[in-house]
Symmetry: C2
Subunit: 333 residues, 2 copies
């Protein structure tokens, strides 16, 4: 688990998009973000207070989070200076970069000497068990997508936020690096060894109060041949009581697979629900989440009305409409 | 890839069952087994010539294969003496034990000094790609089971054997440690990192002659919540043209999951086939393989007749009946 709150390191991000991990933290867990650290030439700005390491430390920050993609896949000399200083001043470091912090000999040496932690959230820090399939107490929701990157994480974070605003018991359960950095905890499922995938999801979503919801971050898609095994493990390890179907209507083909068409929402429902019922016979599909970012307001509304009619399920874009209707459906279960 | 042929190390196996990996090698690839090496007190006997290391070397053996389960999960001092001698005499070592050869400092040191290879077939030796989903030439068969350990490997080995006897082009593609030791090559799928599972199966079953069959070893089951993700990756990475359904009729519940009932063969067919068609729209279910080891001859025959009638597919126990009717169905495609 990563110590919060954070100082968000934006480095020399060329633009706002390069800082999207930091943006996610600020949007979804503002209490975790004490301030931002920008280097000369930084093209990103989260609108947080710019802080030196000293100032952030005084403000209570525990971890410097690399909230930016690095250029060329290497941790630059300029970054290193800041990261080493941060360790020396008592910060832990956390990163989701491919280029691991722990693989940098200088960072590893300083971390060891100062007793600070290096969190590479792409790498599992736990030895997960093999799944045992036992029914657990508490309720669980999982978003499943027609494709990868259709808004499953956004949907889960939005549902969690609404639930907590309503005073419901809810925990967002991160299964990818961005989600883990946002919340400080989770399972980097795509990096878990095959035999332990479903077990890692059981570990992530243990027994809980009967009225508590685990809102599990989805990964991949049952219809995406590169990652469908990861999705399958989430469905069986997560034992969801409720599925939400996620879709992006303007996509011409499956992400990265030009020869593969997207399935219909009906096909997704009819494939995912019977599989989910293997682990949880009471599982229901309760709503639909559409990512309409590439549609006009009119197009989006008319598309969602059509889906709602066809599937008979509350259908929203959580970004445009909020997640209230999805939470209504979950609360009614 | 493991150098063949082998000297099969049976050690101090308490009984025949403890040597089942060696038995599999002898049964399915007799040409790979030059002889057996037994220690005092060994309770297993494959009926092969007992050989010293010297004699096996002279007979052409390249690798000493640990074909026995070790007691207590440790590689004993007595075993070590033989393994070290084997390295010194120029053998590579291969093993599927949990306790890795490479984790034993003395074995690692001698292997390094002598330039010999230690093959721990539980550990991937290759950096696999992420699956790209591109259609590959050649034909592929995959056995999918209602549960784990219902005879999928046996079925695949039997189909491969019949195909080769008939002069068809066929390659058994191992995806588990026993299969890898039998053939000397394959992917230890349960040990591959999640993101690369389907890619490792693509790597294992590349483009081939149009009339060549890859007979892919199945793993897990779509209905086994601990391992279903592995099965899913096999179905999508393998792009099978043909599925064979495998089942063990006397099992009271899913292996290791007392609260989970086995699905029907119909449920397996109706779940696996649409998923397989995501990657290969021409996929067909062509036959059924029943493991009748716990049934009398009469029970077995009457059960299989019933299945054949219900599903309209050739139904055999490859152990009792041979795999000819399955190969007939595959050859007719």
């Amino acid at each position: 688990m990563i110590q919060t709150p954070y100082l968000l390191f934006l480095g020399d991000a060329p633009d706002q998009l390069a800082a999207k991990v930091a943006q996610g933290i600020k949007d979804w867990r503002p209490d975790n973000a004490v301030g931002q650290f920008r280097m000369p030439g930084c093209g990103a700005d989260l609108g947080l207070t710019d802080m030196t390491l000293d100032a952030a430390k005084a403000a209570g920050a525990k971890t410097l989070v690399v909230g930016v993609a690095n250029r060329g896949g290497v941790i630059s000399k300029e970054w290193k200076k800041v990261l080493v200083n941060a360790l020396e001043e008592g910060f832990d470091l956390a990163s989701g970069l491919h280029n691991l912090l722990a693989d940098e000999p200088d960072l590893a040496a300083v971390a060891k000497a100062t007793g600070r932690a290096l969190h590479d959230v792409r790498v599992p820090e736990v030895e997960y068990p093999i799944a045992n399939g036992k029914r657990r107490s508490g309720k669980r929701m999982l978003a499943v997508g027609t494709d990868c990157s259709v808004g499953k994480m956004y949907t889960a974070l939005a549902v969690d936020e609404v639930m907590r605003k309503r005073g419901m018991k809810s925990t967002f359960r991160a299964t990818g690096q961005t989600g883990i950095l946002i919340t400080g905890d989770g399972v980097p499922l795509d990096a878990v060894v095959a035999d332990f995938m479903a077990g890692s999801v059981e570990y992530l979503t243990p027994d809980n109060d009967d009225d508590h919801w685990d809102i599990i971050e989805g990964q991949g898609s049952l219809f995406h041949v590169s990652y469908s095994g990861v999705t399958m493990a989430l469905i069986h390890g997560g034992q969801p009581d409720a599925l939400i179907l996620s879709h992006e209507p303007t996509r011409a083909h499956m992400r990265g697979l030009p020869d593969y068409a997207l399935p219909s929402l009906e096909a997704l429902r009819d494939t995912a629900l019977p599989l989910a019922r293997v682990a949880n016979p009471n599982c229901q599909v309760v709503g639909v989440s559409i990512n309409t970012q590439h549609m006009s307001e009119d197009e989006a509304m008319s598309y969602m009305e059509g889906v709602e009619k066809r599937l008979g399920l509350p259908t929203v874009d959580p970004f445009r409409n909020g997640a209230d209707r999805l939470v209504d459906a979950l609360a009614a279960m």
